[in-house]
């Protein structure tokens, strides 16, 4: 039972992380119908930001967090203005825009690999490494931080979309672009905001993930892949679905690693994914 709970909690922790990435997919997709394949590399930037700034002891944690968020936001804006907006302006088919964002991600990963020369940086767990024990449950504080952050960010994102004028504008821009511009929503600004939100989320994911997974130029691919799966399983573009999809995915990974074997994780997860998508091609919740 103890073991089961520990596995469950770590599954939820991993799941929240991927749900987070799924959420940032949804943020951009809901505004401009663009699937952003550079998100994984943005999160990687966040992880590097945190590991370089905080864990090498240059700056205190809060400033490091700001740095870890600022890096992906800036990179996201550069992708938006360098790749996505020019492609949208030229009316390219959606698949080309997706490939465009993938290209941007490749560039980021290559530059980071070049700069860091595949060195591994020292990391330190921000909240200490001793697990928090409660009854018979042992939780790593890092996972706890991830879960809390996921809840807080989801609520904030929901409030932003439903309660602020800016958030409503972003939502409307995604529902019907022509209609939105008629009622005075600036489409370019709406897209810009959705990119900033996605950048902030990726920064937080990277900041929290950095100490758990050693940052490397290649980590973006995994984050992207699993985040994308979380988004698709939950129903693409559905923020609640992204979190639920992430939780399902996280628990699947965690349980198959704990109870079957580490080598079979990918095989199991992706076979199940194919089956889930075959049964419900639109994802578990509606798009």
């Amino acid at each position: 039972m103890e073991y089961f709970l520990t596995v469950l909690v770590s599954g939820i922790g991993i799941g929240c992380m991927y749900g987070f990435v799924g959420l940032s997919f949804a943020s951009i997709f809901n505004c401009s119908k663009v699937v952003n394949f550079a998100l994984g590399d943005l999160a990687m930037l966040g992880a590097y930001g945190s590991s370089l700034l905080v864990f090498s002891g240059i700056v205190p944690v809060p400033i490091g967090l700001i740095g870890a968020i600022a890096l992906p936001v800036i990179a996201g804006l550069m992708i938006n203005y360098g790749f996505v907006e020019p492609l949208l302006k030229r009316n390219r088919p959606m698949i080309m825009i997706v490939i465009g964002t993938m290209t941007a991600g490749m560039i980021i990963a290559a530059i980071i690999s070049k700069i860091t020369a595949y060195r591994v940086f020292p990391t330190r767990l921000i909240f200490g490494s001793s697990p928090i024990t409660w009854e018979m449950l042992r939780i790593s504080p890092q996972y706890l931080a991830i879960i809390i952050a996921a809840i807080v960010i989801s609520v904030l994102y929901y409030l932003f979309l439903k309660k602020t004028k800016m958030g409503l504008g972003v939502t409307v821009a995604g529902l019907d672009a022509d209609m939105a511009s008629l009622i005075g929503v600036k489409l370019g600004t709406a897209r810009l905001i959705s990119w900033i939100i996605a950048g902030i989320m990726c920064g937080i994911v990277g900041f929290l993930l950095g100490p758990v997974a050693l940052p490397s130029g290649k980590m973006g691919t995994d984050i992207l892949l699993y985040g994308f799966i979380a988004a698709v399983v939950g129903g693409f573009g559905n923020p609640v679905g992204a979190i639920i999809g992430g939780l399902i995915l996280g628990c699947l990974i965690s349980f198959s690693a704990a109870y079957i074997s580490g080598g079979m994780v990918q095989l199991i997860v992706f076979t199940l994914l194919l089956i889930i998508l075959a049964v419900k091609p639109t994802g578990l919740l509606k798009e």
């Binding site: 080598g263 992706f270 998508l277």
Partner: protein, 306 residues
């Protein structure tokens, strides 16, 4: 008539070229491998307008069919290639049931899942049978003594590439090709006109699978080794890149793209990070200024070509 002469000259040049230098033959095999993969994926992705992020999965299936048959039953190469084609067709048929229910980004992750399942099966899932990361080593193919290994495989790959190109051409100019084009433009309209959408997409997927399987089967025999490494995520991404660099949906474009994409890393082995940046630059330029690929750039100057 003029076109036929040009084609004949190109074909002759391609046949004679490897005899000039072994290096040409060596790089030629790699380039043709990439070109076949690009041509195969182009049928499902370019003609049918769907998304295929798992092209390397079929090549892997072909490679491992040849590898496993030689390892366990010592089957001769010709027979195992035929078996690989059959296995590729069967697997394409099986996966068509889940995959063809998906569209758009769901299909993107579905085809990628297919790739990961295939890759994980051989690299970490059933390592006792497949040899895991180490792979399976194969015997050298007997060329009958008068051709060197590289030149022989160059010619085999060239013939297979020509065959795939011919199939691609025949499909494009047939009823099936027109149906695929209609589906890629507007699936709902195609279905409401009474077209059997699933049937045409299935043909696209089947051709994609069989061609890629064939390429993989021959490639591993040339390498005399099967390893998951040959069919990694990188290969997968390179197939997609070659389609967009060469011009997706065109006949010749994928070949050009495949040649460029698969040869470039070979020439830049000493600078591993740079070829990614060069790819990215090439891709950015083609996406922004030449949506029909490198070939499309030339048709800007030649107005007659449509």
């Amino acid at each position: 008539m003029k076109n036929k002469i040009i084609l004949l000259v190109i074909a002759l040049a391609l046949v004679i070229l490897p005899f000039a230098s072994e290096k040409v033959a060596y790089f030629g095999v790699i380039a043709f491998f990439g070109a076949i993969l690009a041509v195969s994926t182009n049928i499902f992705m370019g003609y049918c307008g769907q998304i295929m992020f798992g092209g390397a999965a079929f090549a892997l299936i072909g490679g491992y069919t040849v590898g496993l048959m030689e390892k366990f039953w010592d089957v001769p190469f010709g027979l195992s290639v035929l078996c690989a084609i059959v296995v590729g067709a069967i697997i394409a048929t099986i996966v068509s049931f889940p995959l063809l229910r998906m569209r758009g980004h769901v299909l993107a992750i579905g085809t990628f899942a297919l790739f990961i399942v295939a890759y994980a099966t051989v690299s970490s899932g059933f390592t006792k049978i497949t040899g895991g990361e180490d792979g399976i080593s194969l015997a050298k193919l007997d060329m009958g003594g008068f051709l060197s290994n590289d030149v022989g495989f160059y010619l085999i790959m060239l013939v297979v590439l020509a065959l795939c190109l011919w199939i691609s051409y025949a499909v494009r100019n047939s009823r099936v090709g027109w149906a695929m084009l209609t589906i890629s433009q507007d699936e709902t309209a195609a279905a409401s006109m009474g077209m059997n959408v699933r049937y045409y997409l299935f043909i696209g997927l089947l051709l994609n699978g069989v061609m890629a399987t064939l390429a993989g089967a021959i490639y591993v025999k040339w390498m005399e080794w099967v390893s998951p490494e040959f069919f990694s995520i990188t290969t997968n991404i390179m197939i997609i890149l070659s389609l967009f660099i060469g011009g997706i949906g065109t006949l010749i474009g994928p070949i050009i793209g495949g040649l460029v994409t698969f040869l470039l890393p070979q020439f830049l082995l000493a600078w591993p990070d740079w070829h990614v940046l060069i790819f990215a630059g090439l891709l950015t330029v083609t996406l922004l200024f030449a949506p029909k690929g490198i070939l499309g750039l030339f048709s800007v100057f030649r107005r007659t070509e449509k």
